[in-house]
Symmetry: C2
Subunit: 351 residues, 2 copies
DNA sequence: CTCCTTATGCTCGTTATGAGTATAAATATC
DNA sequence: GATATTTATACTCATAACGAGCATAAGGAG
């Protein structure tokens, strides 16, 4: 009957558990039509689950990471409450919408594991907050999400990085597969992730794309991790793709989060967690566009949310904007009682 | 710093970690038009993450539970591989489709926690297998999923239990709320979970319903857990709802899994993991119906999967059935390259 | 007053969906 | 062997949902 970790005692330090658990928060806001994520600075050698705060900014090179905190096994009633607790303490943010994202537990995702450190599990959460008010004095800041995934922002048409670097690299990767069968496999994986070209790009497959790029050796993480393992990178690539990285596997976690949001937005009214109580329809649309990374047809968006019962007009108008003043709307909570899956129903493809 | 569990020492046995991690498998198959889940027998006092195998079947009353296994922090490269490993060892099953479901970590979900035991986290996985071949000699067996959720099977119309017990109880629960505000809150929660009546029942909200029923005190778990906590059940209910329970919070985990499958089936071609290589369209339809719990329109289902490009005919016919022989079809793998979200697109409501 | 900008209303063709009707090809029954 | 029964499969039809575009309204800037 399945004992955990065949002998809890076998792990690090003679008596340690061999496994430690941390909680991870992907906190998303949309400001200035840009989706943003809250990151913190950690010293270069910080263990993932925290550690002595090691005097941040004391000289050693710091990395950017997602906020991480502990579960107090004797105190926190649920994982989510634990997350809310330490996010409040760390950043001053009172989280609204929170959902569990995924639990990450690959071996060596914390490099210290190679030096006898414990296996580190992270239960990652996605949180949406309304504004960019970071109250904490902690070294946290809002970063544009597309800083980490430049290839995911199609609002201005196909990003040049996709055309110029990504697709050619993918094609080369498929071509250079060792053997016919491997080539077919790669072709299919590439087609699923990138939709065989600029057409058919599926906005939700953020994680598939990230993982493929990682595997192809196009990301700095690939080199970093291979070096840590004492191997040489899979296929030495001239230069990594543009786009910032994050410590540990946190860019992967962020990719998971972005994909989840893009999916969720279609069938649950989660956008409203990101806009003020009252908003113009354009603001709502821009928020959806920021997250989904594509442009939407204005009139149809209006029809969708208005006659779809997602919003109701307040009768009041927005002040101080260019052009004809827009009516302020608010979310119609009743819609969740009326329709099974009220979302904004993005088009399959952009444009 | 966040060491896990602020005071690793406080836990079980003086040196325990305070947190232990287990993996949980919800293994689903569909046989005889019935969705089934693999369960195992555990002695009444088994700790969730396993422990000394305590001689199964030695007299003490046994409970039914989901298969559970460990993560070997030094050996298993990923959580999913760990799961595949011990499922193979325990049951002989070679899992095909596997996806992570959710991580459960509420306090006291393992009752031994109250007696100083460690906090037990379970990372639950959903696995789909083609046939009901349980090779292992372990005390595992296939149970009909609706044995645990009789109110979720609407294939024969609204289940009598819904009409006769569930909805009346829900209405009473709303009515008896302490105060006006609480009543409104309950009304809304009930409406979301149960769709304000036999109409608008959303098949995917399995977990919402389970949790509401738990909270209402309509399940044996409510009483069990309250007793373990030394409290009295929230609102003493005459008799619990029909439907088998599972050990620990495993019925909740199963509810999560069923809801996930029902959602997934709509936009990913996962049904094909549950039928043989070649199948008739009726068989495919019955499998979808078994999972979604509703009946579908035969001709439209055919149109959906056939002209939708999900399947292709083999030209061969099924042998030995009543009526006109049906053509055998197979899954068209190419569809995942062609369409972004190929699923079977269930109707919002039944009938 | 005219142009520019944004908001909002409405139309139109296409596709998807829900519900049938009709016919075909087997086996079972008398 | 004719007929009923059962299941498969092909089509039709009305309606809803969707994608794209035209047209008009209501502000400010020049």
């Amino acid at each position: 009957m399945v004992r955990t970790g065949k002998g809890n005692g076998g792990g690090a330090g003679g008596c340690g558990p061999g496994i430690v658990v941390g909680l991870n928060a992907v906190i998303i806001a949309v400001t200035d039509e840009e989706p943003r994520v809250l990151t913190v600075s950690v010293p270069g050698d910080t263990p993932m689950e925290g550690g002595a705060p090691a005097a941040v900014g004391e000289g050693a090179e710091t990395q950017e990471a997602l906020p991480t905190g502990p579960l107090d096994p004797k105190g926190d009633r649920t994982l989510e409450l634990a997350l809310r607790r330490w996010v409040r303490a760390q950043t001053g943010l009172e989280l609204g919408y929170v959902e569990q994202l995924y639990t990450f537990g690959d071996r060596f995702r914390d490099p210290r594991e190679r030096r006898g450190g414990p296996r580190v599990l992270s239960v990652a959460y996605l949180a949406l907050v309304r504004e960019g008010r970071v109250a904490g004095e902690s070294p946290s800041r809002w970063r544009g999400v597309y800083r980490f995934f430049p290839w995911e922002d199609w609002r201005g048409g196909p990003p040049s990085i996709v055309e110029r670097r990504l697709l050619p690299a993918v094609e080369a990767w498929v071509r250079e597969a060792p053997g016919r069968a491997a080539r077919e496999l790669r072709r299919e994986r590439a087609a699923v992730a990138f939709g065989r070209g600029r057409d058919r790009w599926d906005g939700e497959r953020v994680l598939d794309r990230y993982e493929l790029l990682y595997e192809m050796g196009l990301l700095p993480e690939t080199i970093r991790d291979a070096r840590a393992a004492g191997e040489k990178p899979p296929e030495a690539v001239a230069r990594p793709l543009p786009g910032s990285s994050l410590a540990f596997d946190h860019r992967r976690i962020l990719a998971t989060a972005l994909g989840r949001i893009r999916g969720k937005i279609r069938y649950r009214p989660v956008v409203f967690e990101l806009v003020p109580e009252e908003f113009t329809l354009l603001r709502l649309q821009r928020t959806v566009e920021a997250l989904s990374g594509i442009r939407l047809h204005k009139q149809n968006f209006r029809r969708l949310v208005d006659s779809g019962g997602l919003v109701e007009g307040t009768g009041r108008l927005e002040q101080g904007s260019r052009g004809r003043p827009a009516e302020l709307f608010r979310f119609r909570r009743e819609v969740i009682l009326e329709r099974p899956a009220p979302g904004v129903g993005l088009p399959a493809r952009s444009r």
